[in-house]
Symmetry: C2
Subunit: 181 residues, 2 copies
Amino acid sequence: MKVALAERLDQVEEQFVELWNNMASLWGISPTMARIHGLLYISGAALSMDDIMERLGISRGNVSMNLSKLVEWGLVRRVHKRGDRKEYFESLSDVWEMFTLVANQRKRREIDPILTTLRRCRDELTPEAIGGQALKEPAQKRFQRINDLLKLLTLFDGLAQRFFESHKGLREAVEMLTSEE
Amino acid sequence: MKVALAERLDQVEEQFVELWNNMASLWGISPTMARIHGLLYISGAALSMDDIMERLGISRGNVSMNLSKLVEWGLVRRVHKRGDRKEYFESLSDVWEMFTLVANQRKRREIDPILTTLRRCRDELTPEAIGGQALKEPAQKRFQRINDLLKLLTLFDGLAQRFFESHKGLREAVEMLTSEE
DNA sequence: TATTCCTTTCAGGAAGATATGAAAATTGTA
DNA sequence: TACAATTTTCATATCTTCCTGAAAGGAATA
């Protein structure tokens, strides 16, 4: 009976890792990176590279590279056990924290540069920039569309600024939105 | 002078398409699909396959495939001009509408299945499911973590349900969050 | 129905992304 | 400092995803 339970736990773990793998594109990280993180998260323990290699069946180099990325993202931290020369790795445990971490990261890496170029595009089409000529229909429309987009992204950006800064802020915001009638 | 303006418009268009290309991973669509959509959005006009092929320098087959995906997603619609045998394609113009469209689509395709498996995982570890044995530390922790995650995702899911259903709802929510002190 | 114009499909090829494994580098131990 | 244990790096191989172009399919005209 105990064996049966252990087996079931392993199955759940496997399913979970697989699920994390599928979520990778949603988080904007590579599938293997996600699987490693999934394993660390679900196991709730500090694992060594060898543990991970064995459980996921991937090569040492691969594990090494992806672990350092995870550490860079701040989702995983290195742990040292005294009397042991190996390094161990441990995932954050708070889902809200993980979420805000990734959100902020992606904002900085992907959204901010986009906003910058978008603003540059707009400024190219600004009435002054084009020498005060009245824009004809198509150009007018283009300017319009860039502006619309910029407005929406700026709004979202402001939201992110406010609510994704800390996981506490996010939690509050979500609770507010879900509770109130 | 007029030429200079036209050139500048083209440059902006190109920059914009490039930008859309970079946003692709954020929207969860392929880069080429994004570029095509970007071109249609920014030009604000109904373009034929040949127009798109020429402006983006991609093959007919590629354009055809990606356009049908865009139509499937609902971001682009087919337009017929009378007296012309060609088909033309036109993007939605409302950014909020585009956003909710994509958000809902991704929710249905990617998040809902995840929630389903996650719930299955949880139920595997439910006290009843494992025959009432007291869970030992590691198993206990796993159950805990799955539950935490499930809670967060369910919350988000609820939010999506409420606010992403229509672009009006989204707009309202965003305004609420940004205006209030 | 035949012809022309246009679109879709899809097999094969190109490009890009990921993984491997062995050598080099690093870190701790004696 | 030499040695042993562990991690990192990186050239090469593998896998996946995407693109092309040509052939097949459809639809409008005559």
